[in-house]
């Protein structure tokens, strides 16, 4: 299974539709402080079903919608689409290519799509959870979190091995 591309539109500092293609191997994302690199990672978390605004550094979920600058008005919709190559059927869904979309309106309405079909947030969350890419997996290590693996007590660490098991 591979990430093929992610499209951000109105998500945090990505006011305009922006696409990042992912190749095999190692992709590095670089840029100055505050340019939006961690925002890309949060877009990935969000489209994979992140339910806590705090895990996206916000107070409320609508903090992810582009809120404008001195020169630009805010927008009313944040949308992220993720395209995955699933030809090994790693994700338990009968498609060789999987597209996942999430949209949030400023009025609070949310829309979720799996291969263009409307679905529930739960469907997206379960898809990743059932394939071992859920919240407890190590698929995303956020900024400042690398040592989180140590901060837990020895007893709490066991959940790492239980998840892996």
């Amino acid at each position: 299974m591979e990430l093929k591309k992610i499209e951000l539109n109105g998500f945090k500092s990505f006011a305009d539709k922006t696409t990042i293609d992912f190749d095999q191997g190692v992709t590095a994302i670089v840029g100055p402080n505050g340019s939006g690199k961690s925002n890309v990672i949060e877009a990935l978390r969000w489209v994979m079903g992140e339910q806590s605004a705090r895990n996206l550094r916000g107070g409320k979920m609508h903090d992810v919608i582009f809120s404008g600058t001195h020169a630009r008005k805010p927008v009313n919709i944040a949308e992220v689409t993720l395209l995955l190559d699933n030809s090994d059927f790693f994700l338990p869904i009968d498609f060789e290519e999987v597209s996942i979309s999430r949209r949030l309106h400023r009025n609070g309405e949310s829309e979720y799509r799996l291969n263009k079909q409307p679905c529930r947030l739960k469907d997206i969350v379960d898809l990743f959870m059932d394939s071992g890419l859920g919240k407890e997996s190590f698929s995303i290590i956020s900024q400042g979190q690398v040592e989180a693996i140590f901060n837990s007590k020895a007893e709490d660490r066991r959940s790492i091995f239980e998840e892996a098991a």
Binding site: A15, G36, S139
Partner: protein, 160 residues
Amino acid sequence: VSQRFKKTFMDIKERFSQVFPQMFGGGKAELKLTDPEDLLSSGVEIIAQPPGKKLQQLSLLSGGERALTAISLLFSIIQVKPIPFCVLDEVEAALDEANVARFGKYLHTFETDTQFIVITHRKGTMEEADSLYGITMQEKGVSKIVSVRLQEVDMTSLKN
């Protein structure tokens, strides 16, 4: 369940004892069950000994040594239970140049098993990347993507 936990633990334990010295250029480390008799609730202790040093509690390790130990453990876990992709946001911030070089090279040992997306300011990590994207804010407050060759990387975004 506890059998599966034990097998996974033993596999990760074995890998960790091999990955750590590769990352540190020496030394040793191990994972220990706090209560081997009680597999259902035993915790896991991490013991690390950088090259040439005596075994000491994790808290006494330096900032860079702790980060590299955590990275070694993460890599051990995903070698035992592969995930298709792994996203790392500036995990090597505390490492010096020699350690960044080993970290960067190690990313390639996963070959096609795991796709890595790394956010980094470090030249050493960038040099190991197969592809490089730059994020800029030419228009203040608005992010844009550019695909870059290493030579073009805006030097002000590098950490030197």
